[in-house]
């Protein structure tokens, strides 16, 4: 009886193994597994305040087995979202939290990254909506924060830890920028803080376009399709609008997929740090961590006290 079961078992395991989706091996083989090392480059910006410690590490996972190839409906200016849209987005984010927490723990362990927060330990502090897309920033203790962007066909989560110095009144600080892509469709986001009195801020991108941020509870965020960098911002207070320049780290972008090549899994390829606002004013050390891409990329930038690389993506 047992022998018969063992025979059936061998057969069943072989059959089951053959059911593995054919694209899985291609996706695994096309990942870049080169170990990352700490970047020898100097700190992000000169004059960084001692209190503005760099984020230790970041884990950004782009999730969404049916992520869209486009961002139809996205708007440069935040839109008013229905209560239902926001609730649905938060539900979508929550439904991913368990996987994210356990998955990130595993990935962090594999990459020897410690002390990254889980979003379940945080509370929402900002909600940004652009058409059908909802972006939520979560904040927790000890500088932990995370983001969740949810659209019609995908949900992407990230968390990071560390403390960023707050901006002075009337200024903003962009503490974190990320470029990610799914199936060749890149998108980027910037999150940061708004100083007292800031009522609005519009980001100027390297391609000359503008994206208006959402400012809530001292936080700000904006995101856009593509991988253009932020170069400056127009910051509005009660006394008017002023320009503010950003010292971003020179960064590579998500490599574009080779035409005809197999579509890579969702990848979060890069995040970048910023120098602080203005000269000699309150600065925030940027932070970043580099993530694996299907086609290589740049190594992690300075500022990490516990650098590392994590590859963990689903979809595609």
């Amino acid at each position: 009886m047992i022998e018969q079961l063992e025979s059936e078992l061998r057969s069943a395991l072989r059959v089951r193994a053959e059911q593995l989706p054919k694209g899985a091996a291609t996706r695994v083989r096309t990942q870049d597994y080169r170990p990352r090392t700490r970047d020898p480059r100097p700190p992000v910006a000169a004059g960084v305040l001692a209190t503005a410690a760099a984020t230790a590490a970041v884990l950004l996972i782009d999730l969404g087995p049916q992520a869209s190839a486009a961002f139809a409906g996205w708007t440069r200016t935040p839109t008013h979202a229905s209560t239902a849209q926001v609730a649905d987005a938060k539900d979508a984010c929550s439904s991913r939290l368990g996987d994210f927490s356990t998955g990130s723990a595993k990935a962090m362990k594999a990459a020897h990254i410690k002390d990254l927060p889980t979003i379940s330990q945080m509370t929402p502090v900002l909600t940004d909506t652009r058409g059908p897309f909802t972006f939520v920033i979560y904040s927790g203790a000890n500088g932990a924060n995370g983001t969740c962007i949810s659209g019609p066909n995908f949900t992407s989560l990230s968390t990071r830890s560390g403390t960023i110095g707050g901006p002075p009144a009337g200024k903003i600080v962009a503490s974190f920028q990320a470029h990610t892509q799914h199936a060749g469709d890149a998108y980027s986001f910037v999150e940061g803080h708004a100083g007292a009195g800031v009522t609005a801020a519009t980001l100027i991108l390297s391609d000359g376009s503008k994206v208006q941020t959402t400012v809530q509870n001292g936080w700000l965020v904006a995101w856009w399709p593509g991988s253009a960098d932020v170069t400056s911002a127009q910051v509005t207070t009660a006394s008017g609008t002023t320009d503010q320049h950003f010292d971003t780290q020179p960064m590579g972008h998500c490599p574009q997929p080779t035409p005809g090549a197999p579509t890579p899994k969702d990848v979060a390829c890069e995040s970048a740090g910023f120098g602080g606002p203005g000269q000699g004013e309150g600065r925030a050390a940027g932070s970043m961590s580099m993530f694996n891409t299907s086609g290589g990329g740049q190594p992690p930038a300075a500022g990490s006290t516990a650098g590392g690389t994590v590859t963990s993506a689903k979809g595609g």
Binding site: L9, S11, A12, L20, V28, A107, T311
Partner: protein, 189 residues
């Protein structure tokens, strides 16, 4: 300058070796991961994590007699570390699978269908096993490792491997028997 060139050349060889290892081992690692984790997306994640871990230690691993065995050990440990996550997914699979069984057609090829049905139910039952039990079965009956090899890989005694395998097989038998009877009734009515 010459030293730097030699170092660069060596680094290239090490990298080329690793890429060759990835090409040669990823299929097998994926299949094993898929059988242990019982989920394709999870299997991909596990293999990627595994290969990242191997990449970090590749200069040492490439000198081993069996780098694949090392990678498989890393993979299994990663898989068992993430058991809780997959446990939740298994419950979903059980629910889906239950619906699928009731859709087995009742036609004249009863004998053939019965054999297929048993295998399908066995596959389904495998998906309900605790990860460690399934890992032992996969290593024993898919990877064809000896009990001693499985014990070494899992870092436990041979007796533990035997008892774990025994419990898993008993559980499969228990799970299968009612389903097989039910299927037979369906096919012969």
């Amino acid at each position: 300058m010459r030293t730097r060139s030699r170092n660069g050349s060596r680094a290239q060889r090490v990298r080329a070796d690793f890429e060759q290892f990835v090409t040669g081992s990823s299929d097998a690692l994926l299949r094993t991961a898929y059988l242990v984790a019982w989920d394709a997306a999870e299997a991909e994640d596990l293999v990627q994590d595994c290969l990242l871990a191997v990449a970090r230690r590749w200069p040492r691993v490439r000198g081993m007699d069996h780098p694949y065995a090392y990678a498989r050990r890393v993979l299994i440990n990663l898989a068992l570390d993430g058991a809780q996550r997959r446990s939740r997914r298994r419950l979903e699979l059980v629910a889906d699978g239950a619906a699928a069984i009731s859709e087995v057609p009742d036609d004249s090829s009863a004998r053939r269908l019965h054999a297929v049905g048993v295998r399908a139910e066995l596959i389904q039952a495998l998906g309900t096993l605790p990860p460690r039990q399934r890992a032992v079965l996969v290593l024993r009956y898919f990877e064809d490792l000896s009990e001693a090899q499985v014990a070494e890989l899992l870092g436990c005694s041979v007796g533990t491997v035997k008892s774990t395998a025994s419990r898993a097989l008993t559980r499969l038998q228990t799970t299968l028997t009612p389903d097989i009877s039910m299927s037979t009734k369906e096919y012969t009515r």
